[in-house]
């Protein structure tokens, strides 16, 4: 079959402006995008830069966008992308700094972020003499998480990263989960403390795109939610978002609905004078329109005690 590849190009030694090269080549029916790239480099244009390593779906190195969607070049079969005609576009991942052609900056995109979560286990100091028995259920969960092959598709699909590139992102947060939930880690609170800071777990908007994108079904969003729960459980709740959660739950438990005035104040922090001052203009405007909720002067909704019971039951089950 004859196929034309329209490939994104960028040359850091020239003006660095993106262009596109078109390559038309003959390929076998079972060719992958990786086969095509190798053929282009070997026979048509040796300046084309792209990465690859295992070439059979183990390692995640050859991520590329094929007709707009992020794929591993080595498992993407060319005929699957020809439904609209004999042309295929190849681009680097979205929202990632590109170094040259299809070679983008994995360091900035993922490796450096993983480094930030203290990505190692601290073993307890005793000498290695014999096994430490742990349940296979705990290990099975970790094996699932560690089936991650760092393809970056979760980060590529993330809706926060395009707005804030400094967000740690689902891949790094999933790594933090692997350490925070390993029963053999001497101080698993370490990772929770790190990811609980700004640009971490509270910046996730639970759009679940990461879960949709992950080719291994690791469900990064679920891992982020678990880290949030862990933060609450271990009493690491000083961040505004965590206070927001606590206040919301407390007011719904007590009154059956949200006490918005209280929520605003408690989210900022009752001793945070500077933060509270910031609320004043909004409060004044709301007051002028007769819409200001008066904090702690909040009436219960009908049958609020039934809602309270639900809370109590859940709290009981947690214990």
């Amino acid at each position: 079959m004859q196929v034309t590849f329209k490939v994104y190009r960028k040359d850091p030694e020239k003006d660095g402006k993106p262009t596109r090269s078109n390559y038309t080549l003959e390929l076998a029916e079972d060719a992958t995008v990786h086969d095509a790239l190798l053929k282009i480099r070997d026979e048509i244009d040796s300046t084309l830069a792209f990465r690859a390593s295992c070439a059979r779906g183990y390692c995640g190195e050859c991520m590329v966008r094929v007709n707009g969607s992020a794929r591993l070049a080595c498992t993407a079969k060319v005929p699957d992308y020809l439904k609209k005609g004999p042309e295929i576009s190849l681009d680097p991942l979205r929202n990632v700094p590109v170094i040259k052609d299809l070679v983008f900056d994995w360091d900035a995109f993922m490796w450096n972020k993983i480094k930030q979560v203290r990505p190692w286990l601290e073993a307890d100091g005793s000498a290695v003499n014999g096994e430490q028995p742990v349940s296979d259920a705990a290990m099975q969960d970790l094996r699932k998480v560690m089936s991650c092959f760092y393809c970056g598709m979760c980060d590529e699909g993330c809706t926060v990263l395009p707005v804030d590139f400094d967000f740690l992102g689902p891949a790094a947060l999933t790594k933090a989960y692997r350490l925070a939930f390993d029963p053999r880690n001497k101080d698993s609170r370490e990772q929770v403390k790190i990811v609980e800071k700004p640009k971490g777990i509270w910046d996730c908007v639970h759009c679940y795109e990461a879960d949709e994108h992950c080719p291994r079904g690791i469900e990064p969003t679920k891992r982020i939610v678990a880290l949030r729960d862990q933060a609450f459980k271990s009493g690491i709740t000083h961040e505004a978002v965590a206070r927001h959660h606590a206040s919301l739950a407390a007011s719904v438990k007590e009154s059956g609905w949200v006490d918005e005035g209280r929520l605003a104040i408690e989210s900022e922090g009752v001793t945070n004078i500077k933060g509270l001052m910031k609320l004043l203009p909004t409060a004044a405007k709301a007051l002028a329109r007769g819409k200001a909720p008066i904090p702690f002067m909040h009436s219960k909704r009908p049958e609020a005690d039934r809602i309270k019971k639900i809370f109590e039951k859940a709290e009981q089950e947690e214990k």
Partner: protein, 540 residues
């Protein structure tokens, strides 16, 4: 110039383990790797790691199985050290966070694997290598060891028989840099990309063995290459772990009849049986994974199932998987002792690029990763000790300028009808055809002649892409040079060994010849020419 006590070349399992060990022994360490450590070939190991942990097991039992797989070519002292330390090193990995599969009591689940006669293989589903690699990389990061990922080593610097470090190209900036080191550890992996298809990653091109050979080190038992019996042979070659056989899978001929019970046989015997079945029946051989059952398949072999679907388009629970033995891991490599020392002072080697006589003529399934951690650690410690004890060889700074000139000669805008890809493809098929599972004098003679022709064609090629930034034409050029060098060495050693032993099978010498060949082959370069020597197998 970068300066370290210990420079590690290679970011796979043995390199990372060596780096961590050297750092913990007090040395300053730097690690250079041509791909990011998590993209190295260690990630594709599946089956598991052997450790004699079961109550009915012992270092001696493990050694006994290794002697059978190694077909009496193992060096006993190295085997003894390995079998005694294996359990401790595997437990260290567990302590550092490898989520091994557990039994109902929460102890390490030990599975039957390959020709091990005890249950002694620790595993993490069917992605043991991938997960072990991650944990090693975690500990590597914990040690804050400077990592030079995507740096390609272009030469070792050897002055007066002593290695003083290396010169490497930073793919990202295109700059060459000197790395001065008291000890240099090669942990750069195998070279089975010189066979096409094979089970290897793209970078498994024998750069380290070739660099060491050029630097005057001896290569040992290079003719012994382990083929893996159960590989889907299309495209790049997709390995299906032998643990599948232990779990009930069958090897069947074209009529669907099971080829006599091969489970529990050493790899080389299974490979020969398959090869014979293919030749005699003139047909295909397949792996029938269906007896494993859907549930067990999903539970224990999730990656196998996924890759068969995405790469081969096959459903493991319904379809037969066509298989063929393909080149898997070289058993030969840079000659070392149990501390990883090579025949060049200050130069060490560990893992798949090294050969210390541990595996004899055939590696026991499940030993590769254990070997990487045991000898990675031992080599890291020995390199740190050497760095602390020895005086430092001055790094000849002029070498960098020489290397620049050397590199400049490779470039030329001239186009050619020939290409790196064509030469590589021809080499790969030639090696499978003539230096494969079954060899003969005539075939090897022909292989050597053709390798010579390929080398001549290679010598006329130049790199057209003038840039040095992410110039993969340049790295492919250097890699192909290494593969051609080693292909010749492999064929020469295979020609010399006029017997059949372990993974080395000669149709014209089908028997083992203990009178003449209870010895290793050693190849080194003398005055630009390969020189063969023999070394008796160490008994103690």
């Amino acid at each position: 110039m970068q300066e370290f006590d210990v420079l590690v070349i290679g970011g796979g399992a043995s390199g990372l383990r060596a780096a961590v060990a050297a750092k913990r022994a007090g040395a300053s360490v730097g690690l250079v790797s041509k791909v990011h450590p998590l993209r190295t070939n260690s990630a594709i190991a599946q089956g598991g790691l052997n450790a004699p942990l079961a109550r009915d097991d012992s270092p001696d039992s493990l050694a006994a199985d290794m002697f059978i797989a190694g077909d009496e070519l193992c060096d006993r002292g190295v085997v003894k050290a390995f079998t005694q330390e294996a359990a401790k090193d595997v437990l260290w990995l567990e302590r550092m966070g490898v989520p091994f599969n557990r039994d109902k009591d929460g102890r390490l689940d030990l599975r039957a694997f390959g020709s091990n006669r005890r249950n002694r293989t620790c595993y993490a589903d069917d992605r043991t290598g991938h997960i072990v690699l991650q944990v090693l990389h975690e500990q590597f990061q914990r040690e804050q060891i400077p990592s030079f990922a995507e740096w390609f080593v272009t030469s070792l610097v050897v002055e007066g028989r002593t290695c003083a470090g290396a010169i490497a190209l930073d793919l990202r900036s295109g700059k060459l840099e000197s790395f001065s080191a008291r000890s240099t550890i090669l942990a750069s992996g195998g070279f089975t990309r010189s066979y096409l298809p094979s089970t290897a990653s793209l970078g498994t091109t024998g750069d380290g063995q070739s660099l060491a050979y050029e630097a005057g080190a001896r290569l040992m038992d290079m003719e012994v290459i382990q083929f893996h019996p159960t590989v889907f042979p299309k495209k790049q070659g997709l390995l299906i772990t032998e643990a599948a056989l232990n779990a009930g899978a069958l090897i069947v001929d074209q009529n669907g009849n099971s080829i006599t019970d091969l489970t529990g046989m050493p790899r080389h015997k299974i490979c020969l049986a398959i090869q014979h079945a293919m030749q005699n029946g003139g047909g295909s051989v397949s792996l029938d994974l269906r007896p494993i059952g859907k549930e067990k398949m999903r539970g224990y072999f999730p990656q196998t199932q996924e890759l068969l679907r995405t790469v081969a388009g096959l459903d493991a629970t319904k379809d037969l998987v066509p298989i063929r033995p393909l080149a898997h891991r070289p058993i030969g490599g840079i000659e070392t002792n149990g501390a990883g020392e090579t025949s060049v002072a200050g130069l060490f080697a560990a893992g798949e690029c090294a050969c210390n006589g541990l595996n004899g003529a055939g590696r026991l399934a499940g030993n590769a990763l254990t070997e990487a951690v045991v000898f990675g650690r031992r080599t890291g410690e020995a390199a740190a000790k050497h760095a602390a004890a020895g005086s430092k060889a001055a790094f000849p700074t002029a070498k960098l300028a020489d290397e620049e000139k050397q590199l400049a000669r490779i470039f030329s805008p001239e186009t050619s009808a020939d290409s790196l890809g064509k030469i590589h493809s021809e080499l790969g098929h030639l090696m499978n055809e003539k230096v494969g599972v079954i060899r003969s004098a005539a075939g090897l003679q022909e292989a050597l002649a053709q390798i010579q022709t390929l080398k001549e064609r290679y010598s006329k090629l130049r790199v057209k892409n003038p840039s040095r930034i992410y110039n993969y034409e340049l790295t492919s050029y250097l890699e192909l040079g290494s593969m051609l060098t080693l292909a010749e060495v492999v064929a020469l050693a295979a020609q010399a060994r006029t017997e059949s032993r372990g993974a080395h099978h000669r149709s014209d010498f089908p028997e083992r010849d203990d009178t003449n060949w209870k010895s290793h082959t050693l190849l080194s370069r003398a005055e630009g020419q390969p020189r063969m020597q023999k070394k008796a197998v160490a008994a103690g």
